[in-house]
């Protein structure tokens, strides 16, 4: 028995269809019928249901995200912006860079290893589809409490999946984040970033232009991966006994295929054979064909029988919705088809001509001689529903803000200060990340200049000039819970600062907005505030948002995660040979604190780690101060005045000093100008700690004065202890003893030196 088709749909207008099971509302279903002038076929229903899903259509977020365009600062740096697969930034010398971060939260909870692995694969194909060579990845990870039973399942699986996929694909992992909070226990956040590099001329478009041009699907075969929704349809409309067929809801990744796909695409691009290109991610063939058609000449004819299948029992709805990994779709002129297929063959990649571009304004698909899809493509791709969801600031917000951290017991004696620092250093969110980062290849491709545990990742782009790019991602659910507007600006400011401390100039922003259900007005308020904060912040910092990703429905029951926008900032470094790392140099460099320190402890690591407290206002963002700080850092770096620079964030100056000591393998002696508790543990924004070359201190002080950046020489490097005069001291060994064992103790062994193995 064959499935549904257009003729049948016209003939049986009242046949009940499982639109609700596919996630469509009654209104949305009615809208599809109005668009088509009949009921949709099963294949069309499948297509609309995925294209109009929150994930693909941004229907709840769109009205807010527009601010990234309307408030965008003027810039000449953008070659392509929002709406493309990823934004493209001009970094000079004829080079352009594209970067994007995307969530794979839900799959990573269900099946941590494959969920995280395919998250990397998906974002890499996004970057590839712009015409760029992917050159690095980063990942921002958030889990439930570090000692929770389920975290021991999820975290090693996620890290192993990223390691498996990224390492085998040959992309250096140059940084990211790792944090823990009870709010993520049922909703880990797995956000993967990829960055790619191209020459200006290499930019590709995701559009099917030129009637008669061929649409070629290449890469892995299409199988029954990630089509939980379509199986609802299959069982509702097929009566061949396949109702019970179990389909995996999580896709399986093949990084080897992805590596071949990358090389194959880049070779085809370089040969000038490709008119349009689109990666296949969420909603697979459905999304790729509708988006290509909608963005191009407006029509496309697709022969679904030509799609290479891993499982021959798949019908049109399943073929359309399958999320099988490692696939791309190219639009190729007929005269180039042979050469294109030869390049695919060289890389052992299967390719099939599955359709052609038309000028009919319709996307039609046939299967076994019958037309199963006949729609205007824009109706699915661009003209989906848009919602103005109700927004309401929750009453509980006032109580949260009123719960000030002021009365929490503070350290008083030197011993208590010392103990506070060691407790923070040992806390899972601030502990050494080597257990994770040692599983990632940071060296491959040979251009990694800085990687974790540095503040930002830094890549060399051009060997002769030293041109490079810096990248950082940051998030802070605690700040954003207290105030999503300010919290998001603090996060943006931190990523901006993390790029600036390498000596790079921040240029552009991407984001991954992780929130609870948009149907909850309180969540929608958090979302609206966060987006407003980010758009306003970017306008002040003069860096545009080039793209992003929204992940809603991160909640367990009715309890949402903390609002957690993860912000990525990209900067350009004029000469990576002058980069600044966080490690203190040997004896005698002057330690200078830049920025203004106020008693700001709301949402701080001190309040959270030492007291399990979350309340009050987060620190005050000062974006003008961030701009001035970044300017000083860039100038000082170019003039060679500094030996190291480290941003201050969670845990304040105390953590920054300890990290710089440990990274550099040298101690320091500092004298604080005021109340040691505030100076050591406040999380005031727009601050960094730098070391200044012994003979350039006056010049640096003048530079800070010229930029009106507050600067305080607080001590010098040397010795093998962190000494805070009149307060406490701790040896490097003691700092390392607190910092390093935490994650290995929680997640197993020091990574490959189990007891009883041979020594040399």
């Amino acid at each position: 028995m064959t499935g549904d088709n257009v003729a049948q749909a016209a003939a049986t207008p009242d046949r009940p269809q499982p639109y609700k099971e596919l996630g469509l509302t009654t209104d949305e279903y009615a809208r599809i019928k109005a668009t088509l002038g009949r009921r949709p076929t099963d294949a069309e229903l499948a297509l609309y249901s995925v294209m109009w899903s929150e994930h693909c259509s941004y229907k709840s977020s769109k009205v807010h995200l527009r601010q990234f365009g309307t408030k965008a600062p003027k810039t000449h740096a953008l070659l392509a912006g929002i709406g493309s697969n990823a934004g493209v930034v001009d970094i000079g010398h004829g080079y352009a860079v594209t970067f994007k971060v995307e969530s794979h939260n839900h799959p990573s909870y269900v099946e941590p290893h494959q969920g995280a692995a395919t998250g990397v694969g998906g974002i890499v194909r996004d970057i590839l589809a712009m015409g760029a060579r992917p050159v690095a990845v980063m990942d921002a990870l958030r889990f439930g409490p570090a000692d929770a039973h389920d975290t021991a399942r999820v975290l090693p699986g996620v890290v192993g999946g990223i390691s498996f996929y990224g390492n085998c694909l040959g992309l250096p992992n140059i940084g990211g984040e790792l944090d823990f909070d009870a709010c993520y226990a049922g909703n880990p956040l797995v956000n993967a970033l990829c960055v790619g590099v191209m020459r200006h001329d290499d930019l590709q478009v995701a559009a099917a232009n030129g009637p008669g041009n061929k649409v070629i699907l290449f890469g892995s075969r299409t199988g029954p991966d990630g089509i939980g929704g379509a199986s609802v349809l299959a069982s509702a409309s097929f009566s061949d006994g396949r109702e019970g067929a179990k389909r995996p809801s999580v896709q399986v990744g093949d990084p080897f295929m992805e590596k071949l796909l990358v090389e194959c695409c880049l070779e085809a691009f370089a040969a000038g054979l490709v008119t349009g290109i689109q990666d296949l991610g969420a909603a697979g063939v459905a999304c790729a064909t509708t988006e290509l058609a909608a963005a191009g000449s407006g029509g496309m004819r697709v022969w679904l029988d030509e799609v290479p299948l891993r499982d021959p029992s798949l019908g049109p709805p399943e073929i359309l919705m399958s999320e099988s990994q490692e696939r791309m779709a190219a639009v190729v002129e007929p005269r180039h088809v042979e050469e294109f297929l030869a390049i695919c063959a060289k890389w052992d990649i299967q390719a099939a001509i599955i359709g052609e571009v038309t000028d009919t304004g319709r996307l039609t698909m046939t299967w076994r001689g019958e037309t199963v899809v006949d729609i205007p493509p824009a109706s699915a791709a661009d003209e989906g529903p848009v919602y103005e969801r109700p927004i309401e600031r929750p009453d509980s917000q006032d109580m949260l803000i009123a719960d000030l951290p002021d009365d929490l017991p503070k350290p008083e004696s030197g011993a208590e200060f010392r103990q506070t620092l060691l407790a923070l250093l040992a806390s899972p969110g601030l502990a050494a990340k080597n257990w994770v980062t040692d599983q990632y290849d940071r060296y491959v491709r040979g251009d990694t200049v800085l990687a974790m545990p540095e503040d930002g990742g830094l890549l060399r782009i051009d060997e002769s000039s030293g041109l490079g790019i810096a990248l950082a991602t940051d998030g802070n659910g605690r700040y954003c819970k207290l105030d999503p507007y300010r919290g998001t600006q603090l996060v943006l400011a931190e990523a901006f600062r993390n790029v600036a401390v390498t000596g790079a100039r921040p240029l552009a922003v991407t984001n991954c907005l992780n929130f609870g259900s948009p149907e909850d007005p309180a969540v929608m308020w958090q979302f609206a505030e966060a987006v407003r904060g980010l758009a306003d912040g970017c306008a002040v910092l003069k860096i545009p948002v080039t793209g992003g990703n929204v992940s809603f429905y991160n909640q367990t029951g009715t309890t949402a995660i903390h609002p957690t926008p993860v912000i990525g900032v990209l900067g350009v470094h004029d000469d990576v040979r002058h980069r600044l790392g966080i490690g203190f140099p040997g004896n005698g460099a002057s330690v200078v604190l830049l920025g203004r320190t106020e008693p700001e402890f709301g949402g701080s690591a001190w309040a959270g780690v030492l007291h399990g407290h979350l309340g009050g206002e987060p620190p005050e963002p000062d974006l003008d101060a961030e701009l001035r700080l970044a300017a000083v850092l860039a100038d000082a770096c170019a003039k060679g005045l500094l030996e190291s620079a480290h941003d201050l964030s969670e845990g304040g100056l105390a953590i920054a000093l300890a990290e710089s000591c440990l990274r550099g393998g040298t101690g320091c002696r500092v004298e604080l100008p005021g109340d040691p508790f505030t100076w050591l543990f406040s999380e005031s924004a727009a601050r960094a700690v730098v070391t200044v070359r012994a003979d350039r201190q006056a010049e640096f002080a003048e530079l800070c004065a010229a930029h009106t950046v507050p600067h305080a020489a607080i001590g010098s490097t040397g010795g093998d202890s962190l000494v805070v005069e009149g307060c406490f001291e701790a040896t490097l060994a003691e700092l390392a003893g607190a910092h390093e064992p935490t994650l290995p103790a929680l997640f197993g062994g020091p990574g490959g030196r189990p007891p009883g193995q041979h020594g040399s």
Partner: protein, 223 residues
Amino acid sequence: MRVGVITFPGSLDDLDAARAVTLAGAEAVSLWHGDQDLRGVDAVILPGGFSYGDYLRCGAIARFAPVMGELVPAANKGLPVLGICNGFQILCEAGLLPGVLIRNAGRRFICRDVTLRVETANTSWTSGYRTGQELLIPLKSGEGWYTAPPDVLAALEAQNRIVVRYANGTPNGSTAGIAGVCNEAGNVVGMMPHPEHATDSLTGPSADGLGFFTSVLTAGATA
């Protein structure tokens, strides 16, 4: 001097190896796994990566590549060959080197800078080092535990064919701390750590690895 770098499907560090060759002052020549042709090169490097995804035993498929049909007899006649990481695994699978690389003892991928001790300078790829010299070089592998039957290990020791060892304890379980070995003639060397990632202190932990690539220039001249 011309040094070939073979690209297999899934090779990842081929560019890095070629860059190291260039830095050492030789000409890097790209070789393709599917060609039965060594293009007249004076030495060959099998780079790191995951040939064929390493979904089977590492290197087990790559050893059957057409280019290997040319490489094996040439190596047996004295052509200097260096296998790095996946390249080492391929050389073991191809029978040019004894032993095998198995899953790390910790069962996790390890990317870490390790200190190696040069155990013999009497190979085509280590002649520029001193025996006993220590090198800081990145290790990055999931299947880096070198092992071999006891008689083979004994022979390697006796014939001075352990080229480099981990100086501060084995990071991956590797038997007797072995990080690299060579054939009897000393022209074929395999090692798990990546000297091509330690040729410039800007992008690596040191420049200690450059010596492997400069050593072969003199070895190649006399080969």
